[in-house]
Amino acid sequence: MSAKKTDASRGWYRLDNAAILYLSIQSERITTMFRFSATLYENIDPQALQTSLVKLIDRFPYYRVKLSKGLFWYYLEHNPKTPRVEKDVQYPCGRLAPISNRNFLFRVRYYNKRIAVEFSHALTDGTGAVTFLKSLIYQYLKETGKNISDSTGILTVDEKPDPGEFEDAYHRFYKPALPLPETGESAFHLKGKLVKKGVYLVITGISLLEDIIAVAKKKNATLTEFLAAVYIDSMQEIQDKYIKNPKHKRPISVSVPVNMRNIYPSKTMRNFSLFVIPRIDPRLGHYTFDEILKIVHYCMMTEINEKSISRQLSRNVGGQRNPVIRIIPLFIKKIFAPLLYTKLGENLFSGTISNIGKITMPEEMMKHVERIDFVPGPGPVNKTGCSVVGFKDKIYITFGRLTREPELERVFFTKLVKMGIHMTIESNV
């Protein structure tokens, strides 16, 4: 580990395991960008936002980076340029434009009352992005003259970055020679023609947090389990509609990202998440919602623990540590990695539902922030992704899709409405 720290102190970083994966599949459509946004009660002052960003960026040196190519791997190196805030656009999570974005792998956008940060997955996962957004709001509120004294849980410009924030936690908790996790067969995917490049359609459903939790509680499930089950149930309904012959049906599985910081003691601000994949096999017959919920519930109970997760971690990091793979030049790696990812990654699950949980911040900040949104990054195989975030008394369920028809969204939200949950729908088209 000491070698890693010197790398960081000299202004460059090796990519972590997830970053390698995401970069290898990056393309015009699969931008691997995801987004968090916060809506305040007043219109955003771009100047103040820019000042806060400039002040803040050195608190997050691991984000002040650009992507460079080595002979064998990409790496991140210190970017001497200053990041700029920009106006928001209709289709979020678009491709990074190296010139206008000054080579940064994230961007900060504003629109009316909203501040949005979009991060490339090469840089960090949801936890990192939320932490950054919170610090940005904190700094912005101070910049605009709000009196905020409580900074619990916020990384502020006054403190120095903790060395633990730089670490590649995948490497730290890697255990060699673990048996490989089972890989299932390829799962059912939504059909539908892709929209043209650069378009990303977003639908957000808003509901009261307590309503939805009450429904989940009644069925003895957590929120994530409940929503994942609704997701699988919706996919099942869609598959039933299109594929009549049970022999031709495919398993339905949804990948649920797990924040590994809850399992391993790490403070890293870079990627540190893996997936749990609950699955049903409709070839065995139609599943009722309660059956699906049971499967999801027990899958989460048995899979989310240090032992099961470390198998997945071990497989992923093991590939990256393999000496044969290491000495393959980058340009050859670039050809094979996307194939491998589709085969071992996205093909195995039908969709993603990412629940970042309830966002909390000090009470003084809370009263200036109206809502938080979380937009998932686009993926071409699954076509639709879903992300969930809770803030104050509301829950925001956002779907991003690359197809014209919001089929899954329609089924998903109608199911929730039928369960007696009041939903409000927003969209970017």
Binding site: Q90, V202, T414, T424, I425, E426
Partner: protein, 291 residues
């Protein structure tokens, strides 16, 4: 509060149809002027992929050392074997050339495509001349590649300076430099073809180009009309060429192959002119053949 009658979800204000099922909202609330859409209408600009071909300074340092070693090895082997510099001149000069081509844009503070191209062409010229000089008999074979490279450079320079705005200048200066180039070749090969063959063809080409440039200012010669004009000019050029060539080779002025070319090209250009002049015909073609 507007609800979708089909999905049962509440809809964001100012929505005219349900985002989920596209069912129109039957009783939309009176639209609220102060209300703002949840996303702006601005679309992210599509930026071309930026490819940086210029190596960094540190990369140049690395390459310098990588190149110095083989150069020194060649030099040492040559000196130890022959006592003087003989064959090692070639590999060392080649490595030096490679270094200049690579390092120039990196070490230059402000470079442009034209500057890099200029330096590259001139260093290749210098390299070729030095090889020619070293192999004995100054200015023997190197005349051909060197003059060709210089001509290429002149053309790049012309397009760089005048661009698309002043094609006339490009044509005239290009004509002069090409003529000079051909004259040089004639002198170097010690043959006689410039004044009888090359210059008339070149002049003919220049005239054709200038006529096309002048006529293309008229409204008729746009689109299909311009294609027609270029095609008819091509046919005329073939006539002229054959006349000049036959005159030079056989001393006669009979025509043969250019007639075949004309038989193909002239009806084609008439067709194109027709397309240009007849609106109805053009629309018909666009309808039937649109891609």
């Amino acid at each position: 509060m507007a609800y979708c009658v089909k999905c049962g979800v509440e809809l964001e204000r100012n929505l005219t149809s349900c985002p989920l099922c596209s069912t129109p909202v039957y009783l939309p609330e009176d639209s609220d002027e102060s209300y703002q859409r949840s996303y702006p209408e601005r679309v992210q600009k599509n930026q071309a992929r930026h490819i940086n071909l210029v190596p960094s300074k540190t990369f140049v340092y690395l390459m310098t050392f990588i190149l110095v070693i083989p150069a020194l090895v060649c030099f040492m082997v040559d000196i130890r074997g022959n006592g003087v510099v003989s064959w090692s001149f070639y590999p060392v000069a080649s490595l030096l050339l490679f270094w200049v081509l690579m390092a120039y844009p990196a070490l230059m503070k402000r470079y442009s495509f034209m500057k890099v191209l200029t330096i590259d062409i001139y260093s290749v010229v210098l390299f070729l001349v030095s090889l020619d000089l070293y192999s004995g008999g100054f200015l023997s074979w190197s005349v051909y590649p060197v003059s060709s490279l210089l001509l290429v450079w002149v053309y790049f320079l012309l397009f760089f300076i005048f661009g698309r705005e002043k094609p006339g200048y490009i044509a005239i200066i290009g004509y002069i430099s090409t003529a000079l180039y051909l004259y040089l070749l004639e002198q170097a090969t010690k043959s006689v073809w410039f004044f009888e063959l090359a210059l008339p063809i070149l002049t003919l080409l220049l005239l054709e180009v200038i006529i096309v440039l002048i006529l293309s200012g008229y409204k008729f010669f746009k689109g299909a009309g311009l294609s027609g004009l270029i095609i008819i000019k091509l046919s005329l050029f073939c006539f002229g060429c054959e006349l000049i060539i036959n005159n030079y080779v056989y001393g006669s002025s009979s025509l043969f192959w250019s007639l075949i070319v004309a038989v193909v090209l002239i009806p084609l250009s008439i067709f194109l002119f027709l397309v240009q002049s007849n609106e109805e015909f053009r629309v018909y073609l666009q309808k039937k053949f649109h891609l």
